[in-house]
Amino acid sequence: MYRSHVLVCGGTGCTSSGSVQILKALQDEIDKNGLSSEVQVVKTGCFGLCALGPIMIVYPEGSFYSMVKVEDIPEIVSEHLLKGRIVKRLLYTETVTEEGIKSLNDTSFYKKQHRIALKNCGVINPECIDEYIGSCGYEALGKVLTEYTPDDVIKVITDSGLRGRGGGGFPTGIKWKLAKQNEADKKYVCCNADEGDPGAFMDRSILEGDPHVILEAMAIAGYAIGADMGYIYIRAEYPIAVKRLEIAIKQAREYGLLGKNIFGTDFSFDVDIRLGAGAFVCGEETALLSSIEGRRGEPRPRPPFPAQKGLFGKPTLLNNVETYANIPQIILNGADWFKSIGTEKSPGTKVFALGGNINNTGLVEIPMGTSMRTVIEEIGGGIPNGKKFKAAQTGGPSGGCIPAEHFDVPIDYDNLISLGSMMGSGGLIVMDEDNCMVDIAKFFLEFTVDESCGKCTPCRIGTKRLYEMLEKITEGQGTVEDLNKIEELCYYIKENSLCGLGQTAPNPVLSTLKYFRDEYVAHVTEKKCPAGVCKSLLSYVIIADACKGCTACARVCPVGAITGKVKEVHTIDQSKCIKCGACMEKCRFAAIIKE
């Protein structure tokens, strides 16, 4: 029995800010003080509040230490673990009250969250199967193998109303039913862990923090559709997740939870990992299957759907990581429990990755139907530096921007689509007044141009032309006519592309055109970028009253565009200026502005 447990986050965010060194220093210090039989250090998955990493929680007190440094470790050990005095200066400020500390679950970041998919993340050691089992792990698998027929399983999933969390929102139960119906000598269960949306990292966090839940859910799916083999297709950019999955698969095989005759039944199931190699299009199901087969990840027309003809030509069920993470909970608690959370058409919860210009960057899991306002202002803690909110971008390169006037719309699949965006995998990037919406649209288009596989013409050439027109606008060469041409091309690409990548690629452009048309118009008619981002439309000028004539700007200018004598007002020659901004960074008197 340990009297105290110290949980240290070992997710990618905290690892990047040094949690590995902290874990080592902590264990060394504990050993040095002879506490190793009393205090247990646990490396967990992601807690969600990545902005404050590296994160550490000490139980039983539940003190939440944030932004911990290696230098803080001796103090934590000698004060807290040895003498029982909490190190107040390291506590997350919101947990500090006059009476002492309040529970993490009462802080504004966690209060409105409901954790189902992230249930074990930040709670258990992901590299230890016993901790997963101790947290009801593999109970759902045991239950379906001994009490349910495959049809019973599919009925529970169908009744729960669970929809695919990877983006499309297709009803999961129907997908399973289709895969079961198609008779074949061999079937496959696949997991899409190719989280390509830049800015979304929930799948990575689930795999890093709770890898066994995916194995359990895939085995349940295998039983339901009649498959005995599963593949997890994961991005090679996620080395920690890959490593933990490998450990989890090995442990599950040792415990007989994967392999032959699971739980003494005649059901056998095994899982293998396949690495991606950096291609966004591989998130599309037919492209993903082609990549698992070891070929170029190019999509193909559907039908036949993967449920009919998928991996190696056999019926295949493909779900995303977060979808699978919900399955064991639905089996254990029932369809009615799941339906009681969220909205009627979108039951359950959704994990969002909050990023961009927001205070509490990190992962949050909220019931469907929560408003954008709650997510950004309460859970996210608002916009830093007193800036004004401009838009929230959801759905990544396939989604769109939602402006402030739709702040109170409840988030679910259908509402986001009617606003011209989409749920996508759950990236939620907050933009403030300093972000130019034309530039953002161009940014996403650059991404899709780069990631278009090139198989179909509307996507390969259409996105390229679209990008060129946006580039023209940001360089001040655009005309009002271009805006109409852009819209026309957008609809053409959407209607004629082969797969989801092309069909959704114009969304960032269309939604910014819809809500921020005035910004586009300012770029083409006044040749101005209201947010001050597009370099070609900016000019740096010196305010005569504020300039002290210190010559710092003239000395730093790489092209000699600034002239002026010592202690006299300087001027910038606009024809020479390359708009690098070095002068503005250098000026100590805020005498240089961009306009």
Binding site: E237, G294, G362
Partner: protein
């Protein structure tokens, strides 16, 4: 997004590397869909996938060279050119981009006088843009080999580069 231009640097693989590659190929050869995994391992061995390495894989696995070349050039993680001793990746995922990663990337390229995917003549630094490494809470993020730098501001870039310049 690594450079896909033809390799102009002479190939100088060693016999040990080739032996290791042959071992990897023999282990995976008969498994369905193992080519991607073998290419990953080959890149670990050589640091990149020059045409010479692709030829070995093609011969051993009896897969046409153009098919292998097609796969190598399709996926952005496979590189036809060697990387520098210190490979700098600037995350241009959305979260990093809205927090100024584009500017960081431009500044670094300017300081090192490199284009995307380029490598300095002394083989020391190479630079590339990458999509989301998933550390969005620390945006903007750059990585240099295994080291991760979060919340990067332009002013600290000189200091960061100096660390690696001094490391020789």
């Amino acid at each position: 997004m690594g450079s896909k231009t033809a390799n102009t640097i002479p190939f100088n693989g060693t016999a040990e590397q080739e032996a290791e590659l042959l071992k990897v190929i023999n282990e995976g050869k008969n498994e369905k869909g193992s080519l991607m995994g073998i290419l990953h391992k080959a890149q670990d061995i050589y640091g990149y996938l020059p045409i010479e390495v692709q030829k070995i894989i093609s011969n051993e696995m009896d897969i046409p060279l153009e098919e292998i070349y097609g796969i190598v050039t399709f996926y952005s993680q496979f590189s036809l050119t060697p990387k520098g001793k210190y490979n700098i990746s600037v995350c241009l995922g959305t979260a990093c981009y809205v927090k100024g990663a584009g500017n960081i990337y431009d500044k670094l390229k300017e300081k090192l006088n490199l284009e995307d995917g380029g490598c300095t003549p002394d083989g020391k630094f190479s630079i590339e843009a990458c999509r989301c490494i998933g550390a969005c809470g620390l945006a903007p993020v750059i990585t240099i080999n295994e080291d991760v730098y979060g919340r990067v501001v332009p002013e600290e870039l000189d200091g960061i580069l100096k660390k690696y310049n001094d490391a020789e």
